[in-house]
Symmetry: D2
Subunit: 341 residues, 4 copies
């Protein structure tokens, strides 16, 4: 349930609505956006509508509208927060005209590999460093990541290059531990509907980068975000990374439509990962340009100094010099779109 | 790497191969199936082929073939174990001519709902009781299950009706806890690639029912099973439960092909879940018959005494009397297929 | 618009409704099925509802219900004709307890190949002979069929073995010509939405076997059938032949759900083509059994005396002796389903 | 088979290769592109390799390489013609830095609707006018187009606004007739594998706009183009128009990857149709920008003066003023990409 207020409503009027919602056994979130207050009322689990609550709220002073019908997601919706959510990450303001560029290797493989990459992507213009220490893999015999040693290398790289670190967390139990090292917790495509992990990421109050599941609908991705938001953690970015289709010349199909569709439904910043969404380094730059032109709030790109030796995702990783060229091209499109990067 | 032996090979010869494999830093599993021994050599993580190992093994006495090329999965393959894997579950032998029938509600909702269903499905001919205490849901506001209280109701139902219990576990941390109540750990479609959970299910040494991810390939499902098997836990059943396609008149598309395809590639018993694979109770019985005719080793069916009041999956749940009719029809097909149920 | 009548309605009352419909500028079709008359009123092209017509019809004597809402398809619906449509084809009654078995080569390649196959499938129990003289191919450099010479060989094979002939027609212009040779016109998956061809097949008044498009929904297939029916040609069978999905171990994904779903929506007989829906001969028999168990009204199977030399679809073609075994197995399932074959 | 020549090869040497190819029973096409001659040798139907031909050709003077292996497509490949194919259409050179903008209504509905749209899109900057006179529709009761009257209105609109006309042809029989009115023959998604139509479009020697089938792979689309090219008609554009996936918030999923993938495999210009690929007018402009940023050679956009009254595709049609805004935005991206429009 979303309650919007008249533009001249008083904070005490908002507070009265919050109290009425909470008396009814629901939880209330309040936000000021686009010149008006709104309150979102969500359940603690069961989502049963309380009889009469909508009518009682509509009668309170300052209230403009009560959208009582159960929406698919509430806290993530633009009906609740009309303006794009924005938060600081290192030197940029995510969800603003700043275009966020995250880059780095798929997996942290060694100190030299990570540091070399970190310095190169910083130099080329990246705002954050990505790198996986825990890797979800299809086969139990594939490289599974360096674990804690990888997290420590990421910390060291952050010290050296000054970029905030984005790294994946795979289980709810690891969240507090990974959160000590990471600036942004990444939830990978295979875990998009891992609800204990989503809850833990919400509780952590850390920024979260939530990747779309390989065959998740846009609506399901926003539902997954809602799990995180329901803990009051609103620093969430969602990320299109390609969906599984019948086309086999590319690893995945970039659902470029998802960018404007997410933006029409939700206030959450939306990124594009053209490395996974194409699966081939030769197509990454063209699709990165397309993502920015479609309105993406940022990009996440795999970069490796020696892609042919990478322990994972070599085929889709850019060499540092190609990444620098990508940044140059993306800046051109971004400038025309009125964005900085 | 899979090493097969001549039919008259001695156990000491098999033992020598195992020792040579382990000396090389790999782990070895040995099985006698279809009249011959085989050894599977798998890595502890990285999967690098050891130079010269294949040649050394081929030269040992009793060895017939060495399949050195890295196969997609090893322990789950029919190349390793030619005969279908079989294990006891309650009154039936899974993976034998016995056709396994698992039935029960999607979620455990209350004592009366569970007990009523358990007695009814037992009466109708089911061999195991399903019921979810932990529910992965798309929305954080949907019913998430009764948790431990649900597990205790399942225990009580087992006492009363004598059927083994199949129930879902959602996190690796919960495995030891759920394993105290469950006879079979179910890993749901959303968690098919949750590798910490797969590892924990492997370590538990409990029978596992692994459901295919909504958009997982058959190969990926068998890779996921390999995670469990790599802990020496070979009591694994895989389950086709429908895949996501463009067709929208049904909730999912039953990939009936998966049944013979899995059987051609793997020794693991394969079940069909026509409740999820269709999403509508009116199509469940026809697709259950089809599954048995295609060769499935079992079925898992959602049954609810009052589907219209179910907190989850009501549309696809059968009333007990319809389930009884399903069993009657399935028995006819099974008998013709040379199976008992 | 569908008008149903009371069970004791007089034919003159039905006739009055037909006249009122036609006066309104619509076309009327009348059928007696399941103990009652029904009239379907469809437009000649635009499908605009005539104001007041529904009310006028509802007031006429004998009328029981008027379903005025524009349904997705009308003539193909069970709302119009509750009983499965049935017609004679050679020795069997399609759409009755008879299970129709169509078999033969993908393409007619030579006299000896066709005659050998025809005699073998007849001997094994097939009721009709399939064989393509015009082949739609992905590449312009693949074998495109023998054309008219192929049709003449099919005629000769019919003479020799006494089986009716099913063959594909690829353009509306060829319909009258192919109809001189064929007993059933096949419309292939690539042409399922070729509306000029559908119209021409309707006008021909020949039995039609309409294959589902590779990515057509069930509803779209029934719409395509509606094109044919709208010419008063009701001898139409629809055929599930697999849909395109992400699964790559099989050529297509057999949408086995489509069988009961079509039967719930439409009176048209529904066949399964397990050769195309799997793409591998080794899975054809299992899926054929599944199709019959799901309730299919028939099967269409590719058979070739020397699959390894076939100019098209060799991988999915059965040798005659394997087809004989398929028939044996399918008969067992069919008998249990109360069907003859 | 593709034969490339040394950069200083003489035309008489090329001619000798052509003669040798033709003596062998194949057809030869020759092109000069990227500073060298190449000859493509394709069969007249069966595609059997002639024994020894490759070796004989490799020995001829001037020949640099002979790629003998049967490629999936030959005439459409960049291996044959390295530079993007280019041809004149009205005031623009398709396949050059010019960005082609085609706009107009889905269907020609009336004189006033068409003329109003034509003048508006011309004014806004379109280079060609689209409009359907023959409409392939899912239902036989939907509007099927004005037919010849529609073609005459298109002719009149061309006279008035000076834009070349792009219109769909649905059957091979209609090609000569439609070609009298059209400047570009459009082959729609449903007909992408209608081989008689592809052949006829090839024979017509008219420019062709070939739309990707709803579930066609990129490779199948290029094979379909090969049918047209095999008649010596090289003025072919291919068009990404969205593919069918599980995502249901949009009508189709724009496969933006297809743009750089086609360009890596083929010399044919590639367009994007964001109207069909999204299905909602509100997303068309963002996806049009993305297409240009990805490198598309042109766009085709549905425009209707009164979308809410359109007889087809109203939801995805832009009003003329929104189209003008789209052109403004697209020009910004195009300029940065070094293209004119």
């Amino acid at each position: 349930m979303i309650i919007t207020f008249q533009s001249d409503a008083l904070e005490t009027q908002v507070e009265s609505v919050v109290q009425e919602v909470e008396r009814s056994g629901l939880r209330a979130f309040q936000r000021f956006s686009a010149g008006r207050w709104a309150v979102a009322a969500v359940s603690g689990g069961f989502g049963r509508a309380r009889p009469g609550l909508g009518d009682r709220l509509a009668a309170l002073p300052g209230v403009l509208t009560v959208q009582a019908e159960q929406q698919p997601f509430v806290l993530a919706s633009r009906a609740f927060i009309p303006e794009t959510s924005s938060f600081e990450l290192g030197a940029v303001q995510v969800g603003s005209p700043d275009l966020l560029l995250i880059a780095g290797p798929c997996s942290v493989e060694s100190r030299s590999q990570l540091i070399e990459t970190a310095l190169a992507v910083k130099e080329a213009g990246a705002h954050a460093l990505r790198g996986g220490a825990f890797k979800p893999r299809t086969s139990p015999y594939s490289f599974q990541g360096l674990g804690e040693a990888g997290l420590e290398l990421l910390s060291e790289a952050r010290e050296l290059c000054g970029l905030p670190v984005v790294t994946e967390v795979m289980t709810h139990e690891d969240v507090p531990f990974v959160a000590r090292y990471a600036d942004v917790l990444q939830i990978g495509a295979r875990n998009m509907q891992n609800s204990p992990l989503l809850h833990a990421a919400g509780e952590s109050q850390k920024p979260v980068l939530l990747k779309r599941g390989m065959s998740a609908t846009i609506e399901e991705m926003l539902f997954a975000a809602e799990y995180i938001l329901s803990h009051g953690n609103f620093r969430v970015m969602v990320c299109e990374r390609g969906i599984r289709t019948f086309e086999s010349l590319t690893r995945n199909t970039t659902d470029i439509n998802a960018i404007p569709v997410v933006q029409s439904l939700s206030h959450l910043p939306v990124l594009l990962d053209p490395s996974h969404s194409t699966g081939s380094w030769e197509f990454v730059t063209a699709i990165a340009r397309a993502g920015v032109a479609a309105g993406a709030d940022g990009l996440i790109i795999e970069v490796h100094p020696h892609p042919e030796q990478a322990l994972s995702d070599g085929a889709q990783s850019l060499k540092p010099e190609r990444f620098a060229e990508l940044v140059r091209q993306v800046r051109g499109i971004a400038a025309w779109m009125g964005r900085k990067c």
